[in-house]
């Protein structure tokens, strides 16, 4: 089975801290995604990566950066956490092309910034 693992289920951080959210997939997928999920707003794409060291901004990249040094790992970085970044963060991966295979999601990280 495909597995997408997010390093933490719950995190509490202080305003101004630098926060790292880690995501690892075990299926050699080229594409990886970071979303945040907020009630009434659905899933909003922050960044996605289609290959190692390749990244593209999603719809809400402000205040975030990403790193993909290895194919299996995609990290989301909050440079200086703010309370409006309190949210559920979801990581996903998918293989390229092939009729757009399904994306596989991690369990999510619920981040609270205080």
């Amino acid at each position: 089975d495909v597995k997408v693992t997010q390093s933490s289920r719950y995190l509490v951080k202080r305003t101004g801290e630098k926060v790292f959210l880690e995501c690892v997939q075990d299926m050699d997928h080229e594409n990886m995604f970071w979303y945040r999920q907020d009630p009434g707003l659905g899933l909003r794409l922050i960044y996605f990566s289609y290959d190692v060291k390749m990244k593209e901004k999603g719809d809400i990249p402000e205040g975030y950066s990403v790193s993909r040094e290895k194919k299996e790992r995609f990290s989301l970085i909050l440079e200086s956490a703010s309370t409006n970044q309190t949210s559920m963060y979801l990581c996903a991966s998918s293989p390229p092309g092939q009729g757009f295979m399904e994306a596989f999601f991690g369990q999510g990280t619920r981040l609270t910034v205080v």
């Binding site: 997408v4 594409n31 995604f33 979303y35 009434g40 707003l41 659905g42 899933l43 909003r44 794409l45 996605f48 289609y50 593209e56 999603g58 719809d59 979801l90 996903a92 998918s94 390229p96 092309g97 009729g99 757009f100 399904e102 994306a103 596989f104 999601f105 991690g106 369990q107 999510g108």
Partner: protein
């Protein structure tokens, strides 16, 4: 901007009745459309997709969706609802072949009433 819209935040259906969860799209070219489901305390799961071909697409757990180009819709349906179908449902699309950015709607909470 290209998007999918889910006009209903909440849908309630009696157990055993047919259910419909609505999705309309505004995507240029040939749309690639998906439905995902999020059960309580679980990650998002792929249900079905439309890429090309038959307008009626069948997916997991007895769900199906109908692609309607004239109405720009991709509604999710099931002939007989189960209480276990209660979940959050998301419509999604990929806008450009070769740039597999997966974008979601705002979600519809489906509640099946026993």
């Amino acid at each position: 901007a290209q998007s999918v819209a889910q006009p209903e935040d909440q849908v309630n259906v009696a157990e055993g009745n047919p259910l419909t969860v609505k999705c309309t799209y505004s995507v240029s070219g040939n749309p690639y459309l998906f439905w995902y489901v999020q059960y309580p305390n679980r990650g998002l799961q792929f249900l079905l997709k439309y890429i090309t071909g038959d307008n009626l697409v069948k997916g997991s757990y007895g769900f199906e969706a109908e692609f309607n180009k004239s109405q720009t819709s991709f509604h999710l349906k099931k002939p007989s609802a189960l209480v276990s179908d209660s979940a959050l449902y998301f419509c999604a699309f990929i806008s450009n072949f070769g740039n597999e950015k997966l974008t979601f709607g705002t979600g519809t909470r489906l509640t099946i009433i026993p």
